[in-house]
Structure formats: structure tokens, C-alpha cells
Symmetry: C2
Subunit: 138 residues, 2 copies
DNA sequence: GTGTCTGCAAATTGTTTGCATTTTC
DNA sequence: GAAAATGCAAACAATTTGCAGACAC
């Protein structure tokens, strides 16, 4: 995605396009390791050494509110973030805290079809994500 | 589950059966709302007014280590806990921080069969859980 | 120029740690 | 009696808040 597009996406939401906010958005979008707030901070600091961690959190909150990014839940007690692109699942490494994106439209369809035929009583499904826990073979 | 069984389960793990630990285990087991540490604390305090929050965390850690309970992460940055019974999934309410257990062996089988036939390259699957996000119809 | 955003520091929240005392086995 | 668990307080880590000055629109 070009920088111009990012700027437009930000502007569309009504958020002001500040260089810090743009950079944070860019990092979360391009970094495919689901960075934590501290990791984002470290990157931003290279360009803006005076950035405050509070500002990072405020920017993150504003992006979540405008649905440009989402939180990722891991077992550990730290939040990670990702930019929502297309629908996907997560591979969780049971040995480390690593989370990898997993795209698979076949399984999406299988699961969606199943729940279309078999509704959960009194519950309106908005989204279904798979947490695939395991480990990487070396 | 009878109290006697709980005591046995605890004793089997090698953990010492103290009244505080037994009570915490009982609460997590019977409370089906995935209580937080603070919620557990509030319950335990009725019987042991001097209980310390640090003790609650130590007990929780010991139960997790012995695999009697597991962590559940929600959108908010708070840990919740549950006693692992049989394999199940979670319904996440998108409006509140509520998490409900969801048991369904049909979908378990469908998903497992799929991944038995379609392996993920370089990844050894240990478990698959569905995060079903949506909201409850009133 | 107005209202939003940043940077800074202090406050808050959830969790962990160290140690003396008590309890389980 | 030895090892482990509790209670308490202090430490820590992640996140939030309040506010003055700076910046986007």
C-alpha cells in the first residue's frame, strides 16, 4: 500500500493525519509480527526520539476506535495489534508468544456453512476466528 | 463434582490441599463466568477475610502449572480463568467483556477432519479453538 | 483560530516478588 | 521437622490520565 493511500485512509476516518499517527499505522500495517505497544514505540523512536509511550497508546486507541486496527489476544498478558486486512486466523506457537497470520478461505467457508445451517440459540454470530495452537517444525 | 473428588484431584497433582487453594479451585470450577483474579478474591474473602491478592495469584499459578485450570484472554486487558473440563470453544460478546463456553463436537470433528487432510506446512497442530464473536439476542 | 494531538509526568491497574509466619504432609 | 503455602507489603509492568504547549485543518 502506498503512503498516499494510508494518508487517505486516515483522513477518511476524520482523524488528523499527524506524522506520528501515520507512522504507527504504517508500522502495524507492514509489520507482520503483531507488534506490542513497546515494539511500536521502539520503531517510532527512531524517527521521533521524543515520542512518549502515552502517545503511542493514545494513537493505538484512536486507530482501534476507527477500526483501522484490532487487538490480538495471546495467552500472555500483553496486547498485540494488527491492521485488519482480510479475514484470517492465527497460528499460536505453544512454546513462544509468537502469533502468525493464517489465511484459508476453504476452512472459512466450511465453518460459515456449518453455522448457517446450525444456528447457536439466542446468539447472533458476527465473526468466527480459529486459534490454531501448536508448534513449528524446524 | 463432590468436594471429596476435588480434594483428590488436588492431592494427585502433588499440590498441598489447603483450604484456600481448595476454595479457589472450587470457585473456578463452579463459576461458569470465567472469573477474574479480583472476582475470585471477592469470593474467597467471604470465608477467609485475610486472604491476600498475592496469594490468589500464587494459587492460580500453581493450578495452571498443574493444568487444572487455564487462562482465557478477553478484549479487555484482564485475565480470566476456567477449569478445563472437556474441549470447548468460546462465545465472545462484542458488546461486553462476557465469555461463554460453547461445546460442539460436530464442529470439532469437521475442523479436525479438515486439518487431518490438509496439513499446514511446517506446523504441528496441537489444538484448535473457535473464537465466536457476536452478541446475544434478548 | 479552533479543536485535536503530542509530550511529559504522575496516577492507576493488574500482577509479581520477597520474606517472616503458619500449615500440610 | 522439612518443605510448601499463606499473608503482607513493597516492587513491577502495562496502560491510562491530565494538562500545557504544538500542530493540523
Amino acid at each position: 500500500m502506498k503512503k498516499r493511500e494510508l494518508i487517505n485512509k486516515l483522513a477518511e476516518t476524520g482523524l488528523r493525519v499527524t506524522p506520528q499517527r501515520l507512522l504507527v499505522y504504517e508500522i502495524i500495517l507492514k509489520h507482520n509480527n503483531h507488534p506490542t505497544a513497546e515494539e511500536i514505540m521502539a520503531y517510532v523512536k527512531k524517527k521521533f526520539p521524543n515520542i512518549a509511550i502515552g502517545t503511542i497508546y493514545k494513537i493505538i486507541d484512536s486507530l482501534i476506535e476507527k477500526k483501522l486496527i484490532t487487538r490480538v489476544k495471546t495467552d500472555k498478558d500483553i496486547m498485540r495489534y494488527e491492521a485488519v486486512l482480510s479475514h484470517h486466523h492465527h497460528l499460536y506457537c505453544s512454546k513462544s508468544d509468537i502469533v502468525i497470520d493464517y489465511f484459508n478461505q476453504d476452512i472459512d467457508k466450511i465453518v460459515t456453512d456449518y453455522f448457517n445451517k446450525n444456528k447457536i440459540p439466542d446468539f447472533e454470530i458476527e465473526d468466527i476466528k480459529l486459534q490454531i495452537i501448536g508448534c513449528f517444525k524446524k
